[in-house]
């Protein structure tokens, strides 16, 4: 089976600080990580490869920093990693990003199954996987919590509000995953060392035959006007009495006063 996984390197949300007085955003303490649900998607691909045989290719649209993320993917089971990087791609929204990744996938070959994280944890957008499926003209199953391959078809558990559905789809297809599908494995020291030596192919706009006015900020149908910190919640009231019993009573008092009961 030839599998392909799209990953995104994002800033770790935990490291983003907002100044309590000025409400200014400070990203300087945030480190680069592989977006969490992309790790689940990669783990799903590697598990399928281990069962059925085949290859796992990982691609990422990003700056040269993203090479680290791609090496991390190799250290946990990807066979090949490709970085798609070009200044003209900068500022691409979901549609433009989908176009670029699709062009890269078409260039890299034919794949039986493409896996993406449900949403990247920086933009929380959750649509690039679907955009790619549409541009490739393949069926999709989003919110996958289990994927099996049987007789050239994918049998996928798709999460719903009340439980899940079992969906059968022909291949090639694209699935998006959240974190309920698996626990991503950890790299070993040996696999990290091997990954560090791995060669990452880089594709630029010219390699993909993409028109520059279709991508980047210029080519994006949606434009970001501003990013800002939300209004802060008022500081809460601390309730802690001598005994837990008294604490509970104090809480009820407060709830009654606030008309919550």
């Amino acid at each position: 089976m030839d599998l392909l996984v799209c990953v995104k390197q994002v800033l770790d949300t935990d490291g983003i600080k907002i100044d309590p007085d000025t409400n200014e955003i400070n990203k300087s303490g945030a480190s680069n990580i592989v977006s969490p649900y992309d790790k689940n998607a990669l783990e799903a691909a590697v598990q399928l490869k281990e069962t059925a045989g085949g290859t796992v290719t990982v691609i990422s649209l990003g700056s040269s920093e993203a090479k680290k993320a791609l090496k991390e993917c190799i250290s946990v089971g990807a066979d090949k990693a490709v970085l798609i990087s070009d200044e003209v791609f900068s500022g691409s929204d979901a549609y433009a990003t989908g176009l670029v990744l699709t062009a890269a996938i078409k260039k890299l070959g034919q794949f039986d199954l493409i896996l993406c994280g449900e949403q990247a944890t920086d933009n929380d957008d959750g649509q690039v996987g679907t955009q790619i499926a549409e541009h490739l003209g393949i069926p999709q199953v989003t919110c996958a919590s289990k994927i099996e391959i049987k007789d050239g078809k994918a049998i996928v558990n798709k999460e719903t509000d009340e439980g899940y559905m079992v969906i059968e789809t022909k291949l090639p297809a694209l699935c998006t995953t959240g974190d309920s599908i698996n626990e991503p494995r950890f790299a070993t020291i040996k696999s990290k060392m091997a990954a560090n030596r791995a060669k990452i192919e880089v594709l630029k706009a010219a390699d993909l035959g993409i028109e520059t006015d279709e991508v980047g900020t210029k080519g994006s149908p949606t434009q970001i006007l501003k990013v800002f910190a939300p209004p802060r919640r008022k500081t809460g009231i601390k309730i802690q009495e001598e005994s837990d019993h008294d604490t509970a009573l104090k809480l009820v008092q407060n709830m009654v006063a606030a008309k919550l009961v």
Binding site: I18, P139, V166, T169, K170, P221, I239, L249
Partner: protein
């Protein structure tokens, strides 16, 4: 593209067992305000099989028109069939704006349609506003787990497609007297074009009760409860309020309660009037799913638990001692 050609506000109506989802009715209410402000029409899109009840509900919640596409092949949602219908309708009618509920199916369809009509969805919006300055709609949505907000517009592309979760807008009062113009569109999707097949549908065996995303009160439990048996405290407290039970990823993974109860970034996002967090530390993934609750009460024995950063009432103590007393006292108040 001549964006002037694109007019009217559409709301995609989502149904479950013939009943219209609340989020669709909320979007009709907001869509009405938006359409009025632009002197345009509010049009509901109903796709399915046996849709009479849904069509009726759109008229009572403010639609000027309903476009109805009723065929056997639309009985269950499928990406291929529904995208085909929406694409055909968009090409014929050229709507300026299409609003979808940010449900699993809503997001699936909105994104596939957006790709097909060469645009991006503005996902999970919390606000929309028409700019006095440009006349453009400005959409606001959370990023970085809701720690930041981004405002987005689509100056040169139509239609604009956006998804909203339930609870962002309020449903209007229904107006049974209102009539609506129903347009039937005969759009077929051949079965070969529907590439996914539903083999089975499994619903969680627990009684449904109040839908988590729509509950006015949510009581949630986390690992601080210690063991699965203690989760009954959460259920009892939720029942007293007529509310819903939520849970963190950790206790769901541990099998204490089923996945549909998960509140968090990869679970459900809730914004109830009251959220009571029992034995929950407040990891970012959980907090992003409940931080816009109107009032947050958090009970945890660790005074440094991150959940206290967003709690309106930071209750420090043993949740296993506090909640039973809370339940007692609330019962007394109810009986009084």
């Amino acid at each position: 593209m001549d964006i002037q050609e694109y007019k009217n506000v559409w709301v995609f109506i989502e149904t479950e067992n013939g009943k219209t989802e609340n989020v669709s009715l909320e979007l009709l209410s907001e869509g009405k305000t938006l359409a009025n402000s632009k002197n345009e029409k509010l049009i509901a899109i109903v796709i399915g099989h046996d849709v009479q009840a849904a069509v009726k509900s759109t008229s009572t919640y403010g639609a000027d028109e309903v476009i109805q596409v009723e065929k056997e092949e639309y009985k269950d949602y499928s990406t291929d069939a529904y995208t085909n219908v929406m694409e055909t309708l968009v090409a014929k009618y050229k709507p300026s704006i299409i609003l979808f509920g940010a449900t699993n199916d809503g997001k699936d369809l909105a994104a596939r349609l957006a790709a097909r009509v060469h645009t991006s969805v503005v996902s999970d919006c919390t606000e929309l506003k028409v700019s006095d300055h440009s006349g453009e709609v400005e959409w606001t949505r959370p990023v970085y787990g809701g720690n930041l907000l981004a405002t987005v517009s689509s100056p040169n592309q139509r239609p604009q497609i956006a998804t909203f979760r339930t609870g962002i807008f309020k449903k209007d009062q229904p107006d049974d007297a209102k009539s609506v113009n129903v347009v039937q569109e005969n759009i077929k999707t051949p079965s070969e074009a529907i590439r996914t097949k539903i083999i089975d549908i499994i619903k969680s065996s627990e009684e449904s009760g109040v839908k988590l995303e729509e509950a006015k009160v949510v009581v949630s439990g986390g690992r601080g409860l210690g063991k699965p048996e203690n989760f009954t405290l959460v259920k009892e407290l939720a029942d007293l309020f007529g509310g819903a039970v939520g849970a963190t990823r950790a206790v769901i993974d541990a099998g204490w309660i089923s996945p549909p109860h998960q509140v968090g970034q990869s679970g459900k996002t809730v914004s109830p009037d009251l959220y009571i967090a029992c034995g929950i530390s407040g990891a970012i993934q959980h907090v992003s799913g409940m931080k816009s609750s109107k009032v947050i009460i958090a009970i945890n024995k660790d005074p440094d638990a991150p959940i206290f950063d967003i709690a309106d009432y930071a209750v420090v103590g043993d949740v296993l001692e506090i909640v039973p007393v809370l339940i007692e006292e609330i019962k007394k108040l109810k009986d009084a």
